[in-house]
């Protein structure tokens, strides 16, 4: 197992390197390039553009720019004022040393901006995923055990519908129904708030927090409930016909113990991999949900950064996002090998 993990780690590092090259190439080879967002105005005089290019080191060959992006430029002299003469040593430390630069827009360190928003997204999407799994697992399992029953047919139909509803449309519909149309019969106020994390006019209260979570979590979770109940149904169906369940029954175990202790446990194993593979989509969903429900998280930060073409911020979120995805894939592989003894560490 130790050598398996070591080899996967080496592969992961190679993969991260490959990804950093792809991301860097994407941003720098696209027409317009990183300078298109700098200087705010699209109509920069050519000599000013040249000066900016030298200031930001964009006149250097791409491989050198990539190297600087990775390890920084404090080992070489740079042209700070863009007049074509090298001045002092650079100050960038490179992303390998945790320097993702400054936001073009707020001039704050990019990592500081991300740190302020990340917890809100984890809070929202974490809740969404927990709710989704808490509903999808029983749905999928019961659906598989009672295959072709009325319950199964409803779950299957629902899961087709749920996977076809775009979350940005669902979000708008939920606001229409629960904020605009339905009112609290006692106070006449809207049933749920249309956005935000908490009420601004009152202090902290758990009830208020949960009240604000209902609509965004519903909008985000429905698609996942649909997808995971379908996934669990088929994974449970695979397990139900295995020999070891017949063995368990032959031993005289109760049906309950057969299905849950021997069946469900094995049906849940593939879910580990699926969760890791789905992480990018979870994050993409956060962009829509946070935008519609005015949620101050990473998704909305990314959306705003794209509007303002704030390259350092965009690149930082992309690099960190890709890193998290790769690490979670690695973790899923290791967990999978650990959970399923049939998988040899080769």
């Amino acid at each position: 197992m130790g050598s398996y993990i070591a080899r996967r780690l080496v592969q992961t590092i190679g993969m991260m390197f490959l990804l950093s090259v792809i991301l860097f190439a994407l941003v720098n080879l696209v027409p317009g390039g990183p300078l298109a967002g700098q200087g705010q105005s699209r109509h920069v005089r050519p000599e000013r553009a040249e000066q900016l290019k030298r200031q930001f080191g964009l006149d250097k060959p791409l491989p050198l720019q990539y190297l600087i992006w990775l390890v920084g430029n404090d080992w070489m002299r740079v042209d700070n004022d863009g007049d074509g003469v090298l001045d002092s040593y650079g100050t960038r430390k490179g992303i390998l040393r945790g320097d993702f630069g400054y936001s073009f827009w707020t001039r704050e360190p990019v990592l500081k901006e991300i740190a302020a928003r990340l917890p809100n997204t984890i809070y929202l999407m974490g809740t969404t995923m927990l709710v989704a799994l808490a509903i999808a697992i029983p749905f999928g399992v019961i659906s598989a055990i009672r295959q072709y029953s009325a319950f199964d047919i409803s779950v299957t139909t629902f899961s087709f519908a749920g996977q076809a509803i775009p979350e940005f449309w669902l979000g708008l519909l939920l606001i229409l129904v629960f904020y605009v149309w339905l009112k609290n019969p006692f106070t006449g106020e809207p049933l749920f708030p249309p956005g935000g994390m908490y009420s601004l006019d009152s202090g902290f209260s758990l009830g208020d927090r949960l009240w604000h979570l209902v609509l965004p979590v519903t909008a985000g979770a429905l698609g996942w409930i649909a997808w995971y109940s379908r996934f669990l149904r088929s994974s449970m169906l695979d397990v139900v016909h295995q020999d070891y369940l017949r063995t368990a029954r032959a031993k005289g175990l109760s049906e309950r113990s057969v299905l849950y202790r021997h069946g469900l446990r094995n049906a849940l194993i593939p879910l580990v991999t699926m969760l890791a593979l789905d992480l990018p989509y979870l994050f993409a969903g956060a962009v829509f949900i946070e935008m519609i429900f005015a949620w101050p998280g990473m998704g909305r930060l990314y959306y705003q950064a794209a509007l303002q073409r704030d390259y350092p911020l965009l690149m930082a979120i992309l690099v960190i996002g890709a890193g998290v995805i790769i690490l979670s894939n690695l973790l899923a592989d290791i967990l999978y090998a650990y959970l399923d003894p049939r998988i040899r560490y080769t």
């Binding site: 941003v27 775009p166 794209a306």
Partner: protein, 291 residues
């Protein structure tokens, strides 16, 4: 073979309902030039009317008939979807075929690249590229036209196909009729084109159908955020996006474009599911490609 597939497909009620719904959508979208209204001319006297017999989906803030605009938007959304799938097939199938047939070093390079693309937060990259390209005028790709958006989405959608085709090739390579063809002197290229590809067409069609639905969702999402197709050209996504400011008072603006996305995706998914069951012998292979 195809008669058998059709017979199995017909037995799938969801697939039939899906095919009918989707055909109706395509037909309506094709026939929209017959509409008495122009999608772009504003009629200020008619603005923001609720659904009625004259305007079944109501009118928008400029008094344009929403049904006409939704159907013109459907032309855009569906053609972007079709182009994305074609681009993804053009990239993914050769990569998967080469990887699956060659094995060894080339296989591992191609598959690592596929893995790397799968690990990219692709929708975020689409947002980034959309944000850059919508500001730029270059021939063919100017300002997020249909072609630009299709290429951008297509560049991040081919991975399913390369994995699927590789998995099929790995299995088929070992089969007896391939060995027979080889012993009769069939060259590598001949075996791929004459034997393996025709026999893998079923699962590829299934994956392409499901990919079409996915591409439509991606385009609408991107346009909803404002980084996809740019107004005044309507697409389902940017119609929804425009509705955002006013949908609380004028809900039909948000309901109908989204409903069209929903109906297209659900019918495409049912068709895909029916096809998947119909080409059953390869069900296992599809699983291999998916996971």
């Amino acid at each position: 073979m195809s008669a058998l597939v059709w017979r199995r497909f017909r037995r799938h009620p969801g697939a039939i309902a899906g095919s009918i719904t989707f055909s109706l959508i395509v037909l309506a979208v094709l026939l929209v030039p017959l509409s008495p209204y122009d999608p772009n001319t504003s009629q200020m006297a008619e603005r923001l009317q609720p659904p009625s017999w004259q305007h079944p989906m109501g009118t928008d803030a400029l008094g344009r008939d929403l049904l006409t605009r939704v159907l013109y938007g459907g032309r855009i959304s569906l053609s972007v979807g079709l182009m994305v799938v074609s681009i993804a097939l053009l990239i993914g199938v050769p990569i998967g075929a080469v990887a699956g047939y060659s094995s060894g070093r080339l296989d591992s390079i191609l598959m690592r690249t596929t893995d790397a693309f799968l690990a990219l937060p692709s929708f975020l990259i689409l947002i980034l590229l959309g944000a850059i390209l919508r500001e730029i005028d270059i021939p063919m790709l100017s300002r997020n036209n249909v072609f630009t958006i299709a290429i951008v989405i297509g560049l991040f959608s081919w991975m399913t196909f390369s994995r699927l085709v590789r998995a099929i090739f790995l299995t088929m390579r070992e089969m007896d009729y391939i060995a027979a063809s080889r012993s009769l002197g069939g060259s590598g290229l001949w075996i791929v084109l004459a034997h393996i590809l025709p026999n893998s067409i079923g699962p590829i069609i299934v994956a392409a159908t499901l990919g079409l639905g996915y591409a439509i969702i991606e385009e609408s999402g991107l346009s909803f955020l404002g980084f996809g197709i740019q107004p005044p050209t309507p697409s389902w996504g940017n119609l929804l996006s425009n509705a955002q400011e006013q949908f609380i008072k004028y809900p039909w603006l948000a309901i109908f474009p989204g409903l069209m996305i929903f109906l297209s995706i659900i019918s495409i998914n049912y068709i895909g599911d029916g096809l998947r069951d119909a080409v059953d012998p390869y069900k296992v292979l599809i699983k291999v490609g998916d996971v």
